[in-house]
């Protein structure tokens, strides 16, 4: 009764509510199983018992077996418990029982409809569960159900009323989704008021068809082979002669292909019920995917498939609602068009040039499109191909759907990067949030009524971003940002005005979410580029880095998170000679005192790199004049920021910048020893600096102490110039040991200091 139901529901809750094991008495578990299988139990009770047993899985006390069960619904329910145990034996046993049920004639009133999903689950969990013979039996049945379901509507269940006369009614024919009377065999897109059992089986059969073919559709041997999609021509090709049936596998392939062709035709009809439209598209995708699998398993189908799909493509390529179906079509062509000697470039071009620009805002399409790219990553290795050249379009998906797609792009980015695309992608990554904002405006502009699209007065300045979209001042910048193809030569001189204009959108959640993905991608970018970049590309990137460091979209935290400084240092480490080659740019950057405040991380890393790499041992072209020039430039900056009485105009900066500048000057002096007296004098003044009252109010005590300690160490080192030279100009670290020596520089400094100023009672070991 209802109490039993209530009790079982509460029991289920208490078992399910915790992830830790709850022990149920063994006898009780046995009772649950008995009740489950008893024909007298009401359905609700059975369902609850099954739910509890499943919740407890894996279950040691399980004595359930499906052998004796005749009722197919119950069999399905019991199977759900057995399949939850995680035991290969159980799965196989269920598989055997189900095939047995399908083979034989079922008792009256029972339907095979409930068995097919069980079978689908069995082969998904453990593909090897069925024997060859059994798969043949099932293949044969599937083929029959797919092809020969009744083409007349089912009858309503007899209502049993006094005046009902069901027998006088003629069964009506099935119709298509657009209302036309069907002239061909029944499919999932066939419409009826009531359905017959074999029509239900038709639906079930198609629903599991793809997995079945993947598992058992290929060459006859182990099912795992066909799931890898090798094109299996049958071992013994058997042509279909009249009066002679194909072997089950080939026959199923034949019926399946015909079914898919029919679905392709049915899927472009205009449905009477709007919701059927969604199903049509899902069917279309499934049909094309199955055709692809069939072509892989038997290449004799390729020609038919290709010609069918070319026609389909031309019908749907202009309809945005069918866009998702373009992907499996393109996939089939990628897999087989060589064989069919068909030129499919137009299909790829449309897919990559037009679709992302139109439909970047559709999250499902975006996901599937990026998956397609990942699945076919070998396409991107050819740098001239349409695929590779379309990367600006691909990034639109990420710009709009950042949280969902960032991990996919982390996988995809390496395939897009090569010497030809690196600098353009670098700019693109830094401008990704800008792209988000621009896409937003593009969408809003497209939604405007035509009258408003005329745009504002071209002579004046646009008042809003939306007005700016068509305004001559900004139009070409927008077009560049929203381009579909790689265009390194077309870059406008500067996107700065556009970035400023888009500043009003910098707080929008979508833009912020996009900005959060950029640091990850930049790190990856540099890691990948470091592997293939040659000298000229590295130099280019360093210059761009310095330039872009203050041309970033003005989103709070974006500028800090985008860690350009450490990557700058990494690039210098890769190619130390660039410090000499790009000395003009670096001097200009390092000499601007304002940079130490506004771009502190980059400045600090640049200063460090100068100290590390500006030496003859890294580049023979390094001259004394150059060292002196860098020295003077950095000395001027350090002087500016360590004034005893800082003025309002003096930039403030982190103590670390001061330390790094001091160290760099010392290193340079060690290499050009005329400079030593200047540095030593400077360093000796640091004591006064850190004790000056104006300064102590700006920096904290620990930081000032750190600066003083560092200054002292450096000074002491300079008292032994030859040691300093050795410490600061080690041989270029070509071995790991040498690298470790470099990394232990602070330690070396401390040791030397201790040698020179032994603290009372402490002796270096």
């Amino acid at each position: 009764g209802p109490e039993a139901v209530d009790g079982l529901q509460r029991l289920h809750l208490s078992v399910a509510a915790t992830k830790y094991p709850r022990k149920l008495d063994g006898k009780f578990v046995e009772q649950l199983q008995t009740v489950l299988c008893s024909p007298k139990s009401p359905e609700q009770i059975q369902v609850l018992c099954a739910a509890i047993l499943r919740e407890m899985s894996p279950c040691n006390d399980l004595v359930l077996s499906c052998d004796e069960i005749q009722d197919t619904k119950l069999l399905s329910l019991v199977s759900s418990v057995l399949l939850a145990q995680g035991s290969r034996g159980e799965v196989a046993a269920v598989g055997q029982r189900v095939v047995q049920g399908l083979e034989r004639r079922l008792p009256e009133g029972q339907s095979a409809r409930f068995l097919l999903p069980v079978l689908a689950n069995v082969i998904s969990l453990s593909p090897g569960s069925l024997t060859e013979e059994q798969t043949n039996v099932v293949s044969k049945k599937l083929a029959d159900w797919l092809r020969y379901a009744s083409i007349q509507q089912g009858m309503a269940q007899p209502s049993g009323g006094f005046f009902s006369s069901p027998r006088t009614k003629q069964p009506a024919p099935i119709t298509e989704v657009d209302g036309a009377v069907a002239t061909d065999f029944f499919t999932v897109l066939s419409v009826a008021q009531h359905y017959t059992q074999d029509q239900w089986l038709n639906v079930q059969a198609f629903s599991m068809l793809r997995n079945w073919l993947l598992c058992y559709g290929g060459k006859e041997q182990s099912p795992m082979d066909s799931s890898e999609g090798n094109s299996g021509t049958p071992l013994v090709p058997v042509p279909a002669t009249p009066g002679r049936l194909l072997p089950p596998r080939e026959r199923l392939r034949d019926k399946a292909f015909a079914y898919c062709q029919r679905l392709v035709e049915q899927s472009t009809r205009r449905p009477l019920k709007k919701e059927d439209g969604d199903l049509q598209k899902a069917c279309l995708i499934e049909a094309v995917t199955i055709m692809d699998i069939i072509c892989k398993q038997d290449s004799s189908y390729v020609c038919r498939a290709v010609s069918c799909l070319k026609i389909l493509h031309s019908r749907i390529c202009g309809d945005a609602t069918y866009a998702r179906a373009l992907l499996p079509i393109a996939q089939l062509f990628l897999n087989h068009s060589k064989q069919a000697a068909v030129d499919s470039d137009a299909i790829y071009k449309h897919l990559f040039s037009d679709i992302p620009a139109l439909l970047f805002h559709n999250p499902s399409l975006a996901f599937e499109f990026v998956q397609f790219c990942k699945d076919n990553s070998q396409l991107f290795t050819d740098s001239s191909s349409i695929f590779r050249q379309s990367f600006p379009n691909l990034f639109k998906f990420l710009a709009w759907n950042s949280p969902a797609l960032i991990s996919e792009f982390v996988d995809l980015l390496p395939f897009l990067l090569d010497p030809g695309t690196a600098t353009e992608i670098f700019h693109l990554l830094l401008d990704l949030p800008c792209l988000t904002a621009a896409l937003d405006i593009q969408l809003r502009a497209a939604a405007l009524p035509v009258s408003e699209k005329a745009g504002a007065d071209p002579a004046g300045k646009p008042a809003t971003c939306l007005e700016a979209f068509h305004h001559p001042l900004y139009r070409s910048m927008f077009q560049y940002l929203l381009r579909s193809r790689a265009a390194p030569e077309d870059a406008p001189d500067s996107l700065v005005p556009l970035r400023q204009l888009l500043g009003s959108l910098a707080g929008s959640p979508r833009v912020v979410q996009c900005a959060e993905t950029v640091p990850v991608l930049l790190e990856l970018f540099f890691r990948v580029v470091a592997e293939f970049a040659d000298g000229s590309l590295i130099n280019q990137l360093v210059v761009l880095l310095l330039q872009r460091s203050d041309q970033l979209y003005d989103i709070p935290a974006f500028k800090e998170d985008v860690v350009l400084g450490s990557n700058l240092a990494m690039l210098c480490g890769l190619r130390p000679a660039l410090v000499v080659e790009l000395s003009t740019e670096i001097l200009e950057f390092s000499g601007a005192v304002s940079n130490i405040q506004s771009k502190e991380a980059i400045f600090t890393h640049m200063a460090w790199a100068v100290g590390e790499f500006l030496s003859v041992s890294h580049d023979k072209r390094c001259t004394v004049e150059q060292i002196t020039r860098f020295f003077e430039t950095l000395e001027a900056v350090l002087f500016e920021i360590t004034q005893l009485r800082p003025q309002a105009s003096t930039p403030s900066c982190a103590p670390r910048a001061i330390s790094v500048l001091m160290a760099t000057l010392t290193k340079l002096a060690a290499r050009s020893q005329d400079l030593i007296p200047r540095v030593s004098m400077f360093l000796s003044k640091m004591r006064t600096f850190v004790q000056s009252p104006a300064v102590t109010s700006v920096y904290c005590e620990e930081d000032l102490e750190e600066i003083l300690i560092r200054a002292t160490e450096l000074m002491n080192l300079l008292k032994m110039p030859s040691v300093a030279q050795f410490v600061f100009t080690p041989p270029v670290a070509s071995t790991r040991f040498q690298k470790e020596v470099n990394d232990s520089l602070p330690l070396a400094l401390r040791m030397v200091t201790q040698l020179l100023e032994p603290a009372a009672g402490s002796m270096p070991v």
């Binding site: 139901v5 529901q9 509460r10 289920h12 809750l13 399910a16 992830k19 830790y20 094991p21 369902v47 609850l48 739910a51 499943r54 407890m56 899985s57 894996p58 329910l77 759900s80 399949l83 939850a84 145990q85 995680g86 035991s87 159980e90 799965v91 409930f114 999903p117 069980v118 689908a120 689950n121 998904s124 969990l125 989704v177 999932v188 419409v191 009826a192 008021q193 359905y195 639906v203 079930q204 629903s207 019920k273 059927d276 969604d278 199903l279 899902a282 995708i285 499934e286 998702r324 999250p363 499902s364 996901f367 998956q371 759907n401 949280p403 969902a404 991990s407 996919e408 959640p509 979410q513």
Partner: protein, 191 residues
């Protein structure tokens, strides 16, 4: 095939809660047996739920909507799925399932529904399936009314899943088939 179905409350400020979860079979040989297998299953589903909750909140934010929408006044008011936010994302092998999975999710008011699919599954069909499951679950479990206790009605949820997603098998049901199924289940779904 669908590996699992999860019904969760994404929370907002509150942590997300799994209200109902159903796996469709356990792959044999994958991992520990016994109680650890069950523990692992529960934890995997919780990881999925958390990820769905996070994606849901991020999407709501980007659409400019409040993260914890109000429930409608009348429990029987038909819920429109037109603008229901949803999405799809992938979870890498090992995190948390041994193989890669794709998660399709849909958010309706303060709840979210998710299907954990095998890779290469038909995602269009998965979305259709979710859009059919959601209103029927809301109806059967009376999830919108006061005192709704989905936790105490697993049989209702199971009954629906056994028809619309039997053993994790998604079905290509056109509207008429769906109506026939609703008749079998005794459901009156507003259309």
């Amino acid at each position: 095939m669908v590996r699992a179905f999860v019904l969760l409350a994404p929370g907002g400020p509150a942590p997300c809660r799994v209200l109902y979860a159903r796996t469709f079979g356990t792959p044999p040989g994958a991992g520990p047996g016994g109680p650890r297998q069950r523990l692992r299953r529960k934890e995997q589903l919780l990881v999925v739920a958390r990820q769905v909750a996070s994606q849901c909140q991020l999407l709501q934010a980007s659409l400019g909507r409040p993260s914890s929408p109000q429930l409608p006044q009348l429990p029987d008011e038909p819920v429109s799925l037109q603008d229901a936010p949803g999405g799809v994302f992938q979870m890498s092998p090992g995190d948390p399932f041994p193989e890669r999975v794709t998660v399709v999710w849909l958010s309706v008011l303060a709840l979210a529904f998710a299907l954990v699919c095998e890779p290469q599954e038909n995602l269009s069909l998965a979305e259709i399936t979710l859009r059919r499951l959601a209103p029927r679950l809301l109806l059967s479990l009376r999830l919108l009314g006061p005192g709704a206790d989905v936790l105490l009605r697993p049989d209702a949820a199971d009954g629906l899943l056994d028809r619309l997603l039997p053993h994790g098998q998604m079905l290509f049901l056109n509207e008429r088939f769906l109506q026939a199924m609703d008749r079998e289940l005794g459901l009156k779904v507003s259309r």
